[in-house]
């Protein structure tokens, strides 16, 4: 996180969870970055990232005790594709790491390298 700030960038996390659940993450992990609440994945949809879990998968989640409607405050069972984007000061997306597999997280090293490359232009 500090590495991003040293490049003059602000990091924000955006999740569909209710603010109270985001607050729990922020406290548990002692985050210094903002977690923003995106109800119903409305902003994720504008970024083309919103998808819905199929019904059989919804049942699996409930069996594992993952109650998405309770976390997110809506019944849509939608989520955002995991995505890390770098947006420059003109509002243009300069880097996008997006994955259809939610178990794959962007490596911070890739993002940092991209940030440095953009900064040197």
């Amino acid at each position: 996180m500090e590495d991003f700030t040293s490049q003059g960038a602000t990091l924000v996390l955006i999740s569909p969870q209710l603010e109270e659940h985001n607050r729990i993450i922020a406290e548990e992990k002692k985050l210094t970055v903002d977690i923003l609440s995106d109800p119903g994945n409305e902003m994720a949809a504008r970024y083309g990232l919103k998808f819905q879990l199929p019904e059989d998968l919804q049942k699996i989640y409930m069996q594992f005790g993952i109650d998405l409607p309770a976390h997110n405050g809506d019944d849509s069972w939608t989520l955002p594709l995991p995505a890390r984007l770098i947006i420059d000061t003109d509002g243009v997306i300069r880097y996008a790491e997006i994955n259809a597999d939610y178990t794959v997280r962007p490596d911070p090293e890739h993002t940092l390298a991209a940030l440095k490359a953009i900064g040197s232009l």
Partner: protein, 82 residues
């Protein structure tokens, strides 16, 4: 261990434990998602990032346009704490 290696190792240990049917359902869901063409419809490098005004955990509204006044923004979309 790099993050990718750790995630791979975690995935492998999870695959040994979770019931086979559950794993098949998860795997199929990810494959269907990939085949749905959703990745072709996401924002791309070169696009304007849609502006957002969203609440942080301290009751404040955070707008992308305001953040960009101070420098570039790294925005990470993520599903949450479970």
């Amino acid at each position: 261990m790099k993050l990718e290696e750790r995630l791979e190792a975690y995935k492998k240990s999870f695959q040994k434990q979770a019931p086979k049917e559950a794993q098949e359902i998860m795997h199929r869901a990810t494959e269907d998602l990939r085949n749905s063409g959703i990745l072709a419809r996401t924002v791309k490098v070169g696009d304007m990032a849609p502006d957002f005004s969203l609440n942080n955990t301290r009751g404040q509204v955070v707008a992308l346009s305001d953040l960009l006044d101070g420098g570039p923004v790294v925005a990470s979309f993520y599903r949450g704490r479970w």
